[in-house]
Subunit: 395 residues, 4 copies
């Protein structure tokens, strides 16, 4: 049984269904992550420069408040006596706690990365079998957010139950710390986290890693659909991730979101129109909005994209209801046209058309398609609402 | 080894193979369910109004005798002392038992809903881990029917055994109450319930939720076949559910049926011809016939569809043998033509042609195709039988 | 690592790799089964009439020596005191042992049927959880062969290990009796028995049940390939089973065969040319050769098909090597042309062309394709051998 | 999270992530194996002749240093008293240790073969359940390398965890011997070893066995993709294995490689241009380079192919980064054109074009496609590097 929730129900669920009962991510989380720009080359300066940039550029006032350290903060090994995780003493001379304290002092929240396997994807020590000491240590460091990856998992996937059990171990460990820590599950969509993750995590990745490209096919992201993908890969173009997301979007709940991956906006592989599309769809589809570019050298265009109030409002709308793809039509020039529609609070809607073809396209949109989700009319629609939806928020 | 049962065998099986040994649903169950029209907005009045309408409109004489409360009858939490389920005290001031007693007083049977997971799909408390106390409480309330859903199942799917074990827990718990309770398994077809459910349940859903549309494609119901579908979704058009059903229909047994979902007849998204098709196919394919419209405001056309004796007789026929699709042929205008044939008692047959294309179609049906299931003649056919089959029961 | 065995190795394997170490079926088993013609309507007379017909028609001299009772020999329940299986006292007034003794007296061997589930497919008591007492009882009855089916298996499938464990239980139980009992595994190809069954069974079915048709598509046998089929179904046309078999044929070993199902030869749904094809391919592909027609009313043509020495010799050839499909080419009239090639003892070969199109076809066969399995020449071929292969054994 | 490692990271991983912590195969292993040419017909002379040929032909100076005994070295049974494995006393009169000592005396390393199942593929005793005594015995014999196959595995596959656990048993057993033994996992790609094997093995096969053909389709290798292949089969043409490899190549790590199977170079089923392609791609894709031809009768052309310094350098490059397929384009004549690009040490690259069509093709390669992996420029490219890449190493 599944039915689009009416608004009364959606509001109710905000209190009833929370991932891990941690009360976090009631709207999709927003912030910045080290990976897309810096990869493995991170240190305390990289993190703090970004944290300062979030404040200095006033991005915090738009909601970007998490500073996330991705892979490669690690020392070569755990503490040999206690088994606790340790940071690289050269990269982080004051430890992770030193950085986190400074992030907190800026009014921001701090995130870290680990992996539900023997090693992280970058070859550092993973957390499989170390969930409790790792969660406890993160809490002691003041960590507010954990991204939890999937490399070197010792074959512990293949049924939803196997994957659930592995990721639930960390969920329980985080809860047991008593500190609210947003839990960002990253198993690349294996075994359908949209089905098993909502009760244990605040968000779950649905695909292999994003590539900074609008639509280039890359064989390392080989699946055509996410629902029967047995090899997530990586290097997935932005519009492919949108394709992947379409059927599973409705599995999101307040506190439990589909994660379309860190955004590539401002990284240079797409033009501004493409980045506007990227940002707008991540917002409408209720993905976490995690920035990935170098915050210290953004163009004005980049800043204007990521600070568009109206688009951010779509993401943070209290209804928590991802937009749906009403149709997708191949066009003769290659690519396709897509119509998307989403419900917002106060019986308002968002409508979007996406053109992935290489040429401009003129398209007739059926009034019925645009404004009716089921096969029968939603009678409370009014013209006033329709007008609002036609605003071009990037003019 | 699998062979269409001859009638002698089929009659025998009626006594030998019963789901849960509860002796229920020897023909597909019939009744009404709150979900399709009322969704989460239910209370005692909604239930009782429908119960009274079943009686007042004389639908009971056609066999509609179950009144089913779907999701959202729940209090915010279980009883903190006993762990027992509780109803929302505002919606159900006299509790579920109060409503059930009144339903029984009308000569009807009463059904309830829960979920083999941590929460129901609507975010209320689920029954996973609470099977025994829940079944016991339902029995104490006088419940006659349980619809058992699949949301938030903690990853407990992925092999037939994992799904079987989860759903068998409730089956055993229901049996242990000593009260005959029809068990309607609703896991959306995951892991092939047509294979694993017949010994533990009276019916099993085969797909994601129905949408009130004849044939509109909706990306939220993405699978093209049910037998390898790894994401059931919802918003499945009526004719897609027929497509899904075609290969698995023969898994039905007396007491154990494929459930094509609550019907949308009278809900407004299809025209009357389409609803006639909907109702006729649900009947011929031996789905439970569960109404979903508002019973207090049906049109005459709707009433005439759901009270067609001849069609209901196809559903309740004692042979218990679902019709088979003999062929499906794409037509140039889009859509397809389909020929269906089913065996009934006394060596009679039902033959149906389905046109899902947008235009009227003329079709030649091979005598051989219409009347022979295997590749060799069924010699006992007679012209008298053939004539009977040509009656148009909706004229 | 997999390589077509050379003849020396194949001969060696005959002694090394035996299913269950029972020394049976070193060439594919041959015999007759009740199901295809009599279905559930069997009794002692049906079985004994067939046994006598095997002898009277001299079929035993061609190797047909197993008389197999399929489903529906059962009493309504097991012995309430011992739990042992019992025969229907009306159908089998002298019990199964009475029939088996008479079968043995005719110089034949006797087989029985059960199911690795709660019920048989016909709704009788199954053997799941009763493996030891059932195997012991069969041994006491003098049974020589068990066909072991897959209905109502309580969800115990989904990985090769789950299926293996369920079927291995009966394998061990049969071995423990000390009586050599040929073990015919029938799980319709679920979880790939070609991979897991060779060490526990003498043969394994690869697909849903056969239908007596040359090539008619039936939706109840929906898979297009056997290697990723998640729903075996039934009503599989003869040439579809050949398609299913093609990729897995090489998994056969001496004592462990792919079972393409009971043959339909002589049942009436195909013409004689089609039945010749049916019989010849079952033989070449090293399927057990189990007759399914009414042995007491065979036409001369039917007898000539099933008593063709040259074809039977292909099946019983000591190399035990199934033929391979070298190519399959779609033809414009629908259907396809196929080239098959198999290795026999003494460096001889069998070559076959199959035309499934509705018209006669002329085809050029590349000498290279016909006589070379790998990409390089098999240098020991001689013209004398080639001549032999061109004999038309049905002239 | 997955990102092409920068060179600094790649170098780091060489020390951090080692399969089994055994320090072996930091570049892909090179050597010779008995199977492709000799199959089951091996003995001490076959092995020692090849070992001597490696030395005499100076192949050792190119890196070929492993001499691998594949299947059929076995006695008919294990030692009945100790359960230890034994060699065939006729084929190996001085035992395996006798041969190994002589191989070692030549300055080479010695490998052996077993199977994670009840029998080897050739029907000899397997190691399932005998992991410890087998590993210990191999160590006592002085074995340096184990190829570990997948036949007759008792259904122990179906999820990555089931396969991982079975193969990890031998990994632990090998480690426990204290002798560094390269562990070559050969489960034909079942359950995705690219995901689960890197922490337990030095290499893993990704497909069914190779066939000595450039591109011939063989039904016994039926899958079209490796990532959803449920039946690996065998007889896979060389270019099909390249297709299979494309999406999973990046799972390789230093010490943990995708194994594209023993090479067929010099076996006779392809022409020299095809073998050059074969060898070059195995090298670029970082497969182990295991020769399979008869080393005692190689043509000059064969020797020149396998001793091409520049190509071997691609394979043994310290970056350990397999090439990626940038695009694959179908051509009108059948077959396709492919562009491959790989990263090497010192910011150098390898670019390769592959033409699998039957005709010569002219192709324009976009500068952007050839030299940029992500969607944005790799700015450190220089023309000097580009020139180097254009050298034809086989002129």
């Amino acid at each position: 049984m599944f039915k689009p929730f009416d608004l009364k129900l959606a509001a109710l669920l905000g209190t009833l269904v929370r991932a891990m009962d941690n009360g976090l991510a009631l709207t999709p989380q927003m912030g910045w992550n080290t990976w897309n720009h810096f990869g493995c080359n991170i240190d305390a300066d990289v993190v703090l420069s970004a944290a300062n940039a979030l404040v200095d550029q006033n991005l915090t006032s738009f909601g970007y408040n998490y500073v996330l350290m991705d892979d490669c903060w690690h020392a070569a090994s755990r503490d040999p006596d206690t088994g606790a995780p340790r940071a690289d003493p050269v990269k982080f001379p004051n430890g992770i706690k030193g950085v986190v304290d400074q992030v907190h002092a800026l009014g921001l929240k701090a995130g870290i990365y680990s992996d539900a396997g023997m090693y992280t994807c970058g070859g550092n020590f993973g957390s499989l079998g170390f969930e409790e000491i790792d969660a406890q240590t993160y809490a002691e460091w003041g960590i507010d957010y954990l991204k939890y990856d999937n490399c070197f998992n010792e074959g512990r996937s293949g049924t939803p139950k196997i994957s659930f059990d592995r990721y639930a171990n960390m969920s329980r460990a985080l809860n047991a710390t008593g500190r609210p820590i947003l839990y960002s599950l990253c198993n690349w969509g294996e075994d359908g986290p949209w089905n098993f993750a909502p009760t244990i995590a605040n968000s779950w990745r649905i695909s292999g890693d994003i590539m900074d490209s609008f639509d280039r096919f890359d064989e390392r992201c080989p699946c055509t659909q996410v629902i029967d993908c047995t090899y997530a890969g990586f290097h997935c173009a932005m519009t492919r991730i949108i394709d992947f997301a379409a059927p599973v979007l409705q599995k999101a709940r307040k506190g439990a979101w589909n994660d379309l991956d860190i955004m590539e906006v401002g990284q240079g592989g797409m033009n501004n129109d493409e980045y506007i599309t990227h940002f707008s769809f991540w917002a409408m589809l209720k993905s976490p909005l995690i920035l990935g570019m170098d915050l210290t050298s953004m163009t004005n265009e980049t800043v204007s994209i990521i600070t568009n109030d109206a688009i951010i409002a779509l993401n943070q709308d209290d209804a928590g209801s991802p937009a749906n793809r009403i149709w997708k039509r191949t066009v003769a020039d290659g690519g396709d046209l897509q119509l998307w529609q989403g419900s917002l609070v106060n019986n308002t809607f968002v409508i979007a058309l996406l053109n992935t073809s290489p040429k401009n396209q003129t398209v007739d949109v059926d009034f019925y398609d645009a404004f009716f989700d089921q096969a029968r009319p939603l009678l409370f629609l009014s013209l006033a609402i329709i007008d609002y939806l036609c605003l071009d928020t990037y003019e």
